[in-house]
């Protein structure tokens, strides 16, 4: 085969791959739900804790990437702001919680690692691992005295999932938006 033909075939393949990935991402956006179903905070033992249910629908591409050993990263961003009269709201607390979901081919188990605490748990099925990640229970946010009593506060929550291990240039060059999906901000008010 001539060099130019090979180059031509290569370029065609690249174009086809890019188009396919874009179509796949579009399909993911339509079919898979990735949102925060509900969330609330409650004081437990002097600490405000977060409870939330995140719908973690993974696309086929993401599941395929996971099965090929590419880890997924789940990011929860929590922001607590205090409302103020005549002044812009002020941020009281903000924290990020990350988990990594990976498939261990040897054991055939899905490994969930809390990247903040390095705590690890394994699951024989993806559904169980996702179920674990979807249910956030008792995640400590802030000590109770740090929120002003009787003042209205806003709590915002956003979840993101990203397929890790991709070269940055790949994301940069082929607009790999679906490799990193985020929910909208889920916001509610509390008055301690």
């Amino acid at each position: 085969m001539q060099a130019t033909q090979v180059l031509h075939v290569g370029l065609k393949r690249m174009a086809a791959l890019a188009v396919g990935l874009l179509l796949a991402c579009a399909a993911v956006a339509q079919q898979d739900r990735f949102s925060i179903r509900n969330a609330f905070v409650e004081p437990v033992g002097g600490v405000w804790q977060l409870n939330a249910i995140v719908e973690l629908g993974l696309s086929a591409a993401a599941e395929e990437a996971l099965s090929e050993g590419i880890p997924l990263t789940l990011l929860l961003e929590i922001l607590i702001t205090k409302e103020r009269r005549f002044l812009p709201d002020t941020e009281v607390a903000g924290l990020e919680q990350r988990w990594r979901l990976a498939y261990d081919a040897l054991s055939g188990r899905y490994v969930v690692t809390n990247l903040n605490s390095r705590a690890q748990s394994t699951y024989p099925a993806l559904a169980e691992a996702l179920d674990y990640l979807s249910n956030v229970r008792g995640l400590p946010l802030i000590d109770e005295p740090l929120l002003a009593s009787g003042v209205r506060h806003e709590v915002s929550l956003r979840a993101s999932v990203e397929i890790g291990g991709l070269p940055g240039a790949v994301k940069l060059l082929i607009f790999w938006r679906e490799w990193s999906r985020s929910t909208d901000w889920y916001t509610w008010s509390v008055r301690p």
Binding site: G10, M14, E68, S107, L166, V170
Partner: protein, 737 residues
């Protein structure tokens, strides 16, 4: 200012580019590092591409503009740029093509089916090895569970610990309904482990053995087993023995290595196409960058190559325009440098030669200017003629003598000029026979006649030396000797007059007295007839003697020494007085006076000027005898010049005018056409005018009548200055007497 920073920017860009390429070369071995650095590498290259595109666009625009403006060297520069670009382009494209080819094939070759199958098989083998271990550990756990089931509660803890040590387990735990009843571990812990998942406990309580391979956060694997211990009536009350065994280190390492390789391969396989795109894109950017840099380098080197040539072209043009001081800076020691040195030497020699030529030319010019000044100052007329009688050069005096501007007629043939200049025609008539006879050296006195008189020239001709036998032309030199001859005649006539006055005047009085005495003595004693004869004879003697006295007085007047009494007076007033006087004598004659406005002040001898006026008016009146409507026009005018300038006096009558044969001699003594004239009137006028430093001319008017024009200096400052030529279209004020 911007151009000064261009090399710095290009240098910085090249350094960044080289660093990016080095990073690319280093990081391609590690996909993680490559992934981190690749965006930066791409950005550096993209920025470099943009900068180079901008620079190249500028250079191309500049080159096209130079080509259109036909700037010297632009064609050579464009050819050099094109040639260098093509030279660089071909190997770069070849390398790029083969790089892409090898890259895509290389990446594809990493992911052969056999490799993947081999890795899967290795993973399966690892799993099989671990499965064997897991079964062994499960069997071992069951045996421990059977033994522990028969132990009493008090002995359970010690038996559990003993079994853990004997079985080589990490942990052993007896899980009862909702709690851990006993727990033994090889590690130091201060709390109990969490309960196993419900599904694990349920599986074990149902009598189904549970075993799993769990990855550990710190690395490696453990084998987790759960079996029923029995001893309870209900399923919920059944105790379960949980055991955690470490995977043997050797097996764990191998299994982990296989697992890592498998997953790494899977990840790379999954990212194969994006990686290929990424590599090809990076290579393309690098290629583009290299191409643009090469083209810019082509511009740079073409500049270096063409600049000396361009300088030489510019300098050659400057030399062509006569700037021999142009020098080209030698920038190299190669052949171009040698050429530049040779060019500079050549321009130096040219400059020196031109300086010498300029000096020679300047010397010639100076000589020529000196000669021109000399010729201009000469009162002698000089005309240089070519062999065909074409005027080459003539001085001012020649033109003045011949009454035409010969300097303006340079380059014109003398015969052509003679057709419209009568004096030149008369001169040509003298020259032509000599030329036709082949005489180049001759000398002759020439008389030129014109309306106002005649000019006597002493003319000499000589040949200009030419190449070989040929002559380069003729030089005609002539002096106006009219005045000289006139002065000579004046001197001769003065001498004659003095002698006449001396020799004749003295005997006249005795003759007259003797004649009167003879008449007194003899008149009374003679008969009437004789007395009458005596009376008539003595009267005739007395009258003739009186006449001779007058003639002698006139001679005396002509010959006397010039002693003038100068004072300022108005010539107009003198003219009016004279006109009134003559009008009173002969009322038949009409006097038309056109006098200068504002008067005609003049510094002169009033008596002599009056004599001039009287002689001129007398001359006119004598000429008008017998004319039916005699008119004498007297005209005065002022002409600017040195000091107060000149005053012109013109007397014109409508008589028959001067006879043509006397033209040119009307001011000579004893030249007259009148039967009773002495011929001294106009001679005395001329003498007085010349004594005052003025000039007189006589001519016949085209419409008839004689015209005598006199120019007198208005003051001492104007005396001796050249007398101006008058223009006839002046309209002076007219008066009538």
């Amino acid at each position: 200012m911007i151009r000064r920073w261009v090399p710095v920017a290009v240098g910085a860009g090249i350094v960044a580019w080289v660093v990016a390429l080095a990073l690319l070369a280093v990081t391609t071995r590690d996909s993680q590092e490559f992934g981190k650095l690749q965006p930066w590498i791409l950005m550096v290259n993209a920025a470099g591409v943009l900068v180079l595109v901008a620079l190249l666009t500028g250079r191309l625009v500049e080159l096209v503009r130079d080509r259109r403006a036909l700037v010297p060297g632009s064609r050579l520069r464009s050819q050099a740029v094109a040639m260098l670009s093509v030279l660089v382009l071909a190997p770069l494209l070849l390398v790029f093509t083969f790089s892409v080819l090898f890259l895509t094939r290389g990446i594809d070759s990493w992911f052969h089916v056999e490799v993947r199958q081999g890795l899967s098989d290795a993973l399966g083998l690892s799993r099989a090895a671990l499965d064997l271990r897991m079964r062994e550990f499960t069997d071992r756990t069951e045996r421990i569970a059977e033994d522990l089931a028969q132990q009493r509660s008090m002995q359970l803890f010690s038996a559990l610990d003993e079994h853990r040590r004997l079985a080589g387990a990490e942990e052993l735990a007896v899980v009862g309904p909702g709690r851990i009843e006993a727990y033994s571990t090889a590690s130091l812990v201060d709390s109990l482990p969490p309960l196993p998942p419900d599904e694990v406990l349920m599986q074990a309580r149902r009598g189904e053995r549970y075993v799993s391979l769990d990855p550990v956060a710190t690395g490696g694997y453990v084998i987790r087993a759960a079996v029923r211990m029995g001893g309870a009536s209900s399923l919920q009350g059944t105790r379960v023995l949980m055991a955690v065994y470490p995977v043997p280190q050797r097996l764990a390492d191998l299994a982990e290595a296989v697992q890592g390789a498998y997953q790494q391969y899977g990840r790379l396989s999954y990212l194969r196409e994006p990686l290929k795109v990424s590599f090809v894109l990076t290579l393309s950017l690098v290629l583009l960058m290299a191409l643009l840099a090469a083209v810019y380098g082509a511009f740079f080197f073409s500049d270096r190559l063409v600049q000396p040539v361009q300088d030489l072209i510019g300098a050659t043009r400057a030399v062509g325009k006569g700037d021999f001081e142009t020098r080209v800076q030698r920038a190299s020691r190669d052949e171009i440098g040698y050429l530049v040195t040779s060019f500079n030497d050549m321009t130096k020699r040219l400059a020196k030669a031109r300086a010498e030529a300029d000096a020679s030319r300047q010397a010639v010019e100076n000589e020529r200017a000196s000669l021109a000044v000399i010729l201009a100052r000469l009162s002698t007329g000089v005309i240089s003629l070519q062999s065909d009688l074409t005027i080459r050069v003539a001085n001012h005096a020649a033109g003045a003598i011949l009454g035409t501007d010969l300097q303006a007629a340079a380059g014109e043939g003398l015969p052509a000029l003679a057709e419209r200049e009568p004096l030149v025609a008369q001169l040509l008539a003298v020259i032509r026979p000599h030329v036709e006879a082949g005489q180049t050296e001759w000398r002759e006195q020439v008389i030129l006649r014109h309306e106002t008189g005649r000019r006597e020239l002493m003319c000499a001709c000589t040949a200009l030396p030419g190449e070989g036998e040929e002559t380069a032309g003729l030089v005609l030199v002539f002096d106006d000797i009219t005045e000289l001859l006139h002065a000579q005649r004046e001197a001769a006539w003065g001498e004659v007059a003095r002698r006449l006055a001396h020799e004749i005047k003295n005997p006249l009085t005795p003759i007259q007295l003797s004649a009167e005495r003879v008449r007194r003595r003899l008149l009374g004693g003679l008969p009437d007839r004789d007395a009458d004869l005596l009376e008539r004879a003595t009267n005739t003697i007395v009258q003739q003697v009186e006449s001779m006295k007058q003639m002698v007085n006139a001679f005396s007047e002509y010959a006397r020494a010039p002693t003038m009494e100068l004072d300022f007076f108005d010539l107009n007033a003198l003219v009016r007085e004279a006109a009134d006087l003559y009008h009173a004598q002969d009322a038949r004659v009409r006097f038309a006076l056109t006098l200068a406005e504002g008067g005609a002040p003049i510094e002169a001898d009033r008596g002599r000027i009056r004599q001039v006026l009287n002689n001129l008016l007398t001359n006119s009146l004598e000429a008008l005898e017998g004319e039916p409507d005699p008119v004498v026009t007297v005209h005065t005018a002022r002409h600017p010049g040195p000091g107060a300038g000149f005053v012109e006096l013109a007397v014109h009558d409508n008589g028959p005018g001067f006879q043509r044969e006397f033209m040119g001699q009307v001011f000579d003594p004893y030249v007259t056409s009148k039967p009773k004239g002495t011929g001294l009137g106009l001679a005395i006028v001329r003498k007085i005018v010349e004594e005052h430093g003025g000039r007189i001319e006589a001519e016949n008017e085209p419409d008839g009548g004689a015209l005598v024009r006199v120019w007198l200096p208005a003051d001492e400052a104007a005396r001796g200055a050249p007398v101006p030529r008058v223009t006839r279209n002046q309209e002076p004020r007219r008066e009538h007497a």
